[in-house]
Amino acid sequence: MTYLAHVNGRIRQVIGKHGRFVSFGQNIGAGSHLAGLTRSLPRSDDQRVVNMPNCENGLIGFGFGLMLEGIDSAFFCKQLDFLLLGCDQIVNTYNMVRLRRPAASFSIVCIAVDSGFEGPQSRLNNLADFGSLADIPTFTISNGPDADAVIDRHLIAPGFRIIAVSQRLFRTEVSRPSQDFADVSVDADAHILRHAAGSDATIAAFNFAFPQAVSVQQDLRDRGLTASLYSIAGTRVLNWDTVIEDVRRTGRLILIDDSRSRNRLADRLRAAVADAGIRCTTIPLYRAIREEDIRPNADEFSVDTEQLYQALNTAVQ
């Protein structure tokens, strides 16, 4: 099953089980249905699917208005960068509404346009940047277990959040780590998911870099090393203890982050590990931020595993 079909199916399942709900956005009920993300959303007298005009600021305010009236809703937005047009609502309205601790749910589900060929729009791919605007709960979905945990717990829940999916991953098979580690553990907030446990290194994947992290984990295994594998789905992680304890055990931390931002969540984990007084080898594998990426390009993010292996060996010696 593709990543996109999995996410779409989970969204339909969660909304279908819920009562009154308003799904809204541009082209969500017509044509490609946002490339399939919103295909076949549940419709009934109680569950509305509303195609809306092209006015993102207005649409985000609309969602907060529904929230004030106690109506659960989701704004399905074609591109993460479109949310820039609604920053006033995301920051100022959210700050007003959260004072009231609303019981209703409002989620923005958007697509990070990280396939590269959109050029300048692809440059903005880091959901954590939006989260930091007003301490907003934000979640990235980069694999099947992420999708299940985040959509089940957060798509419809009191409060506001932004959930982003990756366009680059749409047609890929849903990523799963090695079948040797079939049990995925999820923290209470669906912020941190552990997909595999190992003893030689701790790998943490940020933003939409989970496929690269799986590749690294499998490559290390081929070289006789086992690694724990985490995806950091929530960008508002307040408690890193589970990962910190793993690093204390393995002594090696590999951070993989495909975002183009100076505000990398991976650096917060790095700081938390340092603050915990753990002496370990840390290997950050970050996407380079390059001026030429403003032009249309393949937006590939690959990890040089040979270089990584050498770094690990050097550290061991």
Partner: protein, 293 residues
């Protein structure tokens, strides 16, 4: 309401508040009309200059002032201050200090009421300065596209902070804009309180029955204007009141600030004998002062 605002002005003069307060002297007639037209299930969304609506919807000057003092006994428990003051129990569900910010939220509130059933109407306030924001037009489009029972009231004082609108931008013909969106349009001017109340009541009922949005433009004057001499100029410049204390306006001079059509209290006073006005002022002042003890 006028006396309440003048009492608050006296406290602003004494620097009693840390939060910025935008008085609305001259805006009273439309606020009274909106509050009178609203039914219990209706919703009202406001802007940074919201004091007149909050006073019209809330009879307690004490709670208004306590909110400005950020006390728990305030209208919003001291959580909102002045520019974002809400009072959900009275229908004031959302207020924003950001220009045009409340308008998109109003579309969602109106949609929520429709989803929940009933015949409630949402009323959203804004000023003529907000017409320059994209959110204004987005709101008209959403409200019309979804046939939402939304009344957009534009208080037009022809100023944006200290700059006259005609010094800053081209003219905007709201009636034409309403027509372009297929909306009904109403214009009010002259501070005739009875006319305002009748019109708002009809607008509210028609909007509820038709389930269509409409627009009401109210021409008014923000009283308390003054003249300043700007740096590098020997000429005085006429400035509209925007925020803070009105040092040249005093409660001791009575509630009428401008003996012209610009002042709704002056217009109201023309409808009743002077002796009654004097008695009302005395009684209302005593009542409000007792609240402040």
């Amino acid at each position: 309401m006028r006396i309440s605002m003048l009492m608050i002005n006296e406290l602003i003069k004494k620097k009693a508040f840390s939060v910025p307060i935008h008085l609305a002297l001259g805006h009273e007639a439309i606020a009274v009309a909106v509050a009178a037209a609203m039914r219990p299930s209706d919703r009202l969304l406001l802007t940074h200059r919201n004091i007149h609506y909050n006073l019209a919807c809330n009879p307690s000057l004490r709670r208004e002032i306590d909110e400005y003092l950020l006390r728990e006994s305030g209208l919003a428990g001291g959580q909102n201050g002045a520019m974002n003051l809400t009072n959900p129990d009275a229908g004031v569900i959302y207020t924003s200090s950001i220009l045009a910010n409340c308008l998109p939220v109003a579309t969602g509130v109106a949609m929520g009421q429709w989803v929940s059933g009933g015949d409630a109407v949402t009323i959203a306030l804004t000023g003529d300065g907000a017409l320059e924001e994209g959110a204004f037009y987005e709101t008209l489009m959403i409200a019309n596209s979804l046939n939402l029972p939304l009344v957009v009231v534009i208080e037009n004082n022809e100023w944006s902070m200290h700059t006259r609108i005609d010094e800053r931008r081209c003219a905007i013909d709201l009636e034409s804009i309403a027509a372009a969106f297929g909306m009904k349009f109403y214009r009010l001017a002259g501070n005739d309180l009875n006319l305002y109340c009748d019109t708002l009541r009809n607008v509210r009922n028609e909007t509820s029955a038709a389930r269509k949005p409409c627009m009401v433009e109210v021409s008014l004057s923000t009283l308390g204007d003054y003249t300043v001499v700007e740096e590098g100029s020997s000429q005085g410049r006429y400035i509209n009141y925007h925020t803070g204390a009105l040092t040249h306006v005093s409660l001791a001079n009575g509630p009428i600030i401008d003996e012209s059509e610009r002042d709704p209290v002056h217009m109201l006073a023309k409808l009743v004998p002077k002796a009654d006005i004097t008695r009302w002022v005395h009684e209302i002042s005593a009542e409000l002062e007792s609240q402040l003890q």
